[in-house]
């Protein structure tokens, strides 16, 4: 078994999916507490592929979105994103700031910052849970925000992640407020190949 494994087995991906689920569960709980509303969480979707393949799956759309982005570092390298349809981003901002903005162009820095903060709380909660579960020290950068085509945002994120043909792993989970006409957003967790290997080795020792 000298050959480097390029693909992960279905079981391995499922394990990691479960872990991401734990993280996202914490994010959902945080969101529910913060807004005092019920939150519905989808089953994670997973994608394995090199950067171009992932970009083809997710990023060829010209749909306009609002994204909050973090880089993970420390024991695990990767990225996390929260992606909202623009009207849902507005909705969250209005709930948090008690304003009534109708257009993304009206947003003040304060409004935008509140959305970044929402991302910070949700994704921060999930990173903390992941780190605790895996006994790994996972840190994340301050949030950054962009309004643009989803494809353009994804290519920025992906090309920052790693620059080889190695496979990366991506999980996507949808969070939705139940009683507000399905206002919600997608959480994306991306792990580079080194980190994926590290996570699996931790899991193996944990299980055995």
């Amino acid at each position: 078994m000298k050959e480097e494994k390029e693909f992960y087995s279905k079981e391995q991906v499922d394990e990691l999916k479960e872990i991401t689920n734990i993280g996202a569960g914490n994010a959902a709980t945080a969101l529910s507490h913060m807004l005092g509303k019920k939150v519905q969480m989808s089953v994670p979707e997973s994608y394995v592929g090199d950067l171009a393949e992932i970009q083809h799956i997710l990023g060829e759309s010209e749909e306009k979105v609002t994204a909050v982005f973090f880089k993970m570092y420390g024991d695990v390298d990767g990225a996390m994103l929260m992606i909202f349809p623009p009207k849902d981003a507005l909705n969250f901002i209005n709930v948090m700031t008690k304003n009534n903005r109708t257009n993304l162009k009206e947003l003040t820095d304060n409004d935008k910052s509140s959305l970044s903060e929402l991302g910070n709380i949700l994704l921060g909660a999930s990173v903390a849970a992941l780190g605790r579960f895996l006994n790994l020290n996972i840190l994340h950068t301050i949030p950054d925000q962009a309004n643009d085509m989803i494809g353009a945002i994804m290519d920025n994120v992906l090309s920052n992640l790693n620059q080889t043909e190695e496979k990366v792993l991506l999980f996507k989970i949808n969070l939705k407020l139940i009683d507000d006409n399905g206002v919600g957003g997608d959480l994306y967790y991306l792990f580079d190949s080194q980190s994926t290997k590290r996570i699996f080795s931790v899991l193996n020792t944990k299980i055995k």
């Binding site: 171009a52 010209e62 950054d144 643009d148 994804m154 920025n156 992906l158 920052n160 043909e165």
Partner: protein
Amino acid sequence: MSEIIEIKTAELYVGHNDQVIKTGSVGSCVVVALYDKEKKIGGLAHAMLPHRKNNIIENKYLARYVDEAIINLLEDLKLAGSNKKNLVAKLVGGASMFRKLTEEKNSIGTQNIKIARYTLERLNIPIEAEDTGGSSGKMVIFDLRTGIVDVSTAL
């Protein structure tokens, strides 16, 4: 009506006069358009990363890396009957959206543009126009009848 060809990330296409090549959501990627005015042949490449960092040679994507994309585009144009002397280039893309995380001067977008300019200079292909850098994603439509590259944003 001209035929519309759509290319994805890491792909390239070379076509002739009554075609239009389209590519969407260009963020830090760089899109290189080469056009031969004499013969009305042109090609578009949508490259993702600056240059190859390992030795794995794969033929799946001809335009994954900027430098290789330009060379492959040039080869295809030559095969289509174009003369290198008549070629002019246009560059689009190389944006950095997340300014807090990477300084613009170190971003992948900026590196992509640098490599594109350098490669074109080495090949003696003049750059006729550029819409590069900044912080917004772009859509590109390249009309091979006129050589006009139409760039739009989502905003």
